[in-house]
């Protein structure tokens, strides 16, 4: 009967789907064992976040975060393989085992500590406020009541909402009175929007490194005021991933070694114009 044939076909289809789903997380083995066995460390990072990570013409990427990830993978004895999900996908956790770690300059905050297991800090950046160059604003107070652009789901957005709790309890400058936030998918989108001529916002808050790269690329922005806070940035693993205590420890150890033997300092000076951001200012 045709209807039974159809039922069998639909049933097979459903089984195939279920099989796809059950793929990850087999036994209780640690992610480190799986990474070493596959010889690949799956890293999630951004595709448009110069100078931390950005695309090259051949489709691969380069930048500070890329170099750090490659170095960590090398010390684990494997190769790093990069994926470029949207930042809000990375930051939201629940990675569904699509990748192993995030090397994306993620700020360590108290709420995030509940979703991610962080390595030790691999570098620090000042969170620097900037304004559109012809806006005439010269201080943080001048941004009272104005619109400030940030990347979606970043610590900069949290600071503007007043909900930022830095993981190392660092000090934060108060938010300009009545300033509101607008967001784009990633920080550089704000700069690129200003550069293309749009004027949807007056201020732009991001890390000083990202701001510098944007200005060098021609964005009409000017830094204003002192850094509003200093953020510790670390490698993150989703707590909902398969068991990863050993992977976390191995990465932590790699970062510690990279601090001690000067690798991180060297990379920081290479990408951040000679400023060694791997040590706290």
């Amino acid at each position: 009967m045709p209807s039974r044939r159809i039922a069998v076909i639909i049933g097979t289809f459903a089984l195939i789907l279920a099989a796809c789903g059950g793929g990850g997380g087999s036994s209780g083995e640690d992610m480190l064992a799986r990474v070493k066995r596959d010889g690949v460390l799956r890293v999630a990072t951004d595709s448009n976040y110069a100078p931390q990570s950005f695309l090259k013409e051949d489709g691969t990427s380069e930048g500070f975060d890329i170099d750090v990830a490659n170095e960590v993978a090398k010390r684990l004895g494997v190769k790093a393989e990069f994926q470029y999900p949207q930042w809000s996908v990375i930051e939201g956790g629940k990675w569904a085992d699509r990748f192993d770690i995030s090397v994306g300059s993620m700020t360590v905050t108290e709420p995030r500590k509940e979703i991610f297991d962080f390595s030790q800090t691999y570098y620090y950046t000042p969170a620097q406020m900037s304004v559109i160059a012809d806006s005439g604003i010269t201080s943080l107070d001048g941004l009272a009541g104005k619109v400030i652009c940030t990347g979606e789901a970043t610590s900069y957005w949290q600071w503007l909402q007043g909900t930022l709790k830095l993981g190392d309890g660092g000090a934060q400058t108060p938010v300009p009175n009545g300033a509101t936030a607008t967001t784009f998918a990633t920080d550089q989108d704000c700069a690129q929007s200003a550069q293309s001529g749009r004027r949807d916002f007056e201020g732009f808050l991001t890390s000083s490194t990202t701001l510098k790269a944007a200005i060098d690329a021609g964005a009409p922005l000017a830094a204003v005021g002192d850094p509003v806070y200093f953020e510790p940035l670390a490698i993150a693993i989703d707590k909902a991933s398969p068991p990863h205590a050993e992977l976390n420890a191995a990465i932590d150890k790699a970062i510690a070694e990279m601090h001690a033997d000067g690798t991180l300092s060297g990379l920081a000076k290479k990408w951040f114009d000679g400023v060694d951001l791997s040590v706290k200012q």
Binding site: S3, I6, C20, G21, S47, N48, Q86, R98
Partner: protein, 268 residues
């Protein structure tokens, strides 16, 4: 008299034919001129923004073009999946079994009634919460096949119903079992009827595949977007992507026309 008439008629016929050919050529010339002028106008407008950097096309063009391969792969795989789903769905919608008919009708109504982008988000982001984790490319293919399968179900159903009843009655008179009738008599003829609609859907799918860029699959639009924004050459990047999509649809429309001609051979 007769000789004079013979002398006049051919030249009038000739003149009319020549006039028609001339007016056709005239139309074609003005038609092409309009295309050239409008496209040149757009190109000039972009050039005058002072932002266009030809070096960008040379440097990043190959990377963006590489995305076209993935786009074509996704589309071909999805259309095959969609066709399978469509045949099953159409048979289900025509079934006398109320459970199968109900399921197929729900599939069509639900999937045609929700936006494709919502379905893509659902399959990629929401299914993991239920334990089903799909790779971006599998999720993309599945979403497109699932969505287009619903639309094509209706097309196939109409195609099956458009096959003359006499065909089925003749087959029944020959004592053919129902399944064989469907497989050997009805479906082949129905397929010929629906080929234009499927070709149409395929061309449409080439463009809808750009929605899969939201799950960070590095196909044509994702690359154009990523690269264009980070180099402040978004106009150029998106134009390249648009031209490639246009070229792809022209190529596939051409093949579709040839396929239709081939299938219609029996009609002449």
């Amino acid at each position: 008299m007769a000789v004079m008439q013979q002398g006049i008629q051919p030249s009038i016929v000739d003149e009319i034919a020549r006039a028609q050919a001339a007016s056709r050529r005239d139309f074609l010339l003005k038609f092409s001129l309009t295309w050239v002028v409008i496209i040149a106008g757009i190109a000039l407008a972009i050039w005058s923004t002072g932002n266009a950097d030809p070096a960008f096309t040379v440097k990043w063009g190959p990377l963006i073009l590489g995305g076209a391969g993935i786009t074509v792969f996704i589309c071909i795989t999805s259309i095959i999946g969609a066709t399978v789903l469509a045949v099953l769905g159409a048979l289900g919608r025509l079934s006398l079994n109320p459970f199968i008919n109900g399921a197929a009708s729900l599939y069509v109504s639900l999937v045609r009634g929700t936006p494709l982008i919502v379905q893509i988000y659902f399959i990629f982001f929401a299914l993991p919460q239920m334990g089903i984790v799909l790779d971006p490319i599998i999720a993309g293919i599945f979403a497109l096949a699932f969505n287009y399968g619903a639309y094509m179900t209706e097309v196939f159903r109409a195609g099956i119903q458009a096959v003359p009843r006499g065909q089925r009655e003749a087959a029944q008179a020959l004592g053919m079992p129902e399944r064989l009738i469907m497989r050997r008599i009805v479906l082949p003829q129905a397929t010929r009827i629906v080929v234009p609609a499927i070709g149409n859907d395929f061309v449409s799918m080439i463009k809808d595949s750009s929605l899969v860029s939201v799950v960070s699959l590095q196909e044509l639009l994702w690359r154009a977007n990523s690269v264009g924004r980070s180099n402040q050459q978004l106009i150029q990047a998106l134009l390249i992507a648009a031209l490639v999509y246009w070229a792809l649809t022209i190529i596939f429309s051409f093949f579709q026309a040839r396929l239709e001609k081939r299938l219609a051979k029996g009609d002449r």
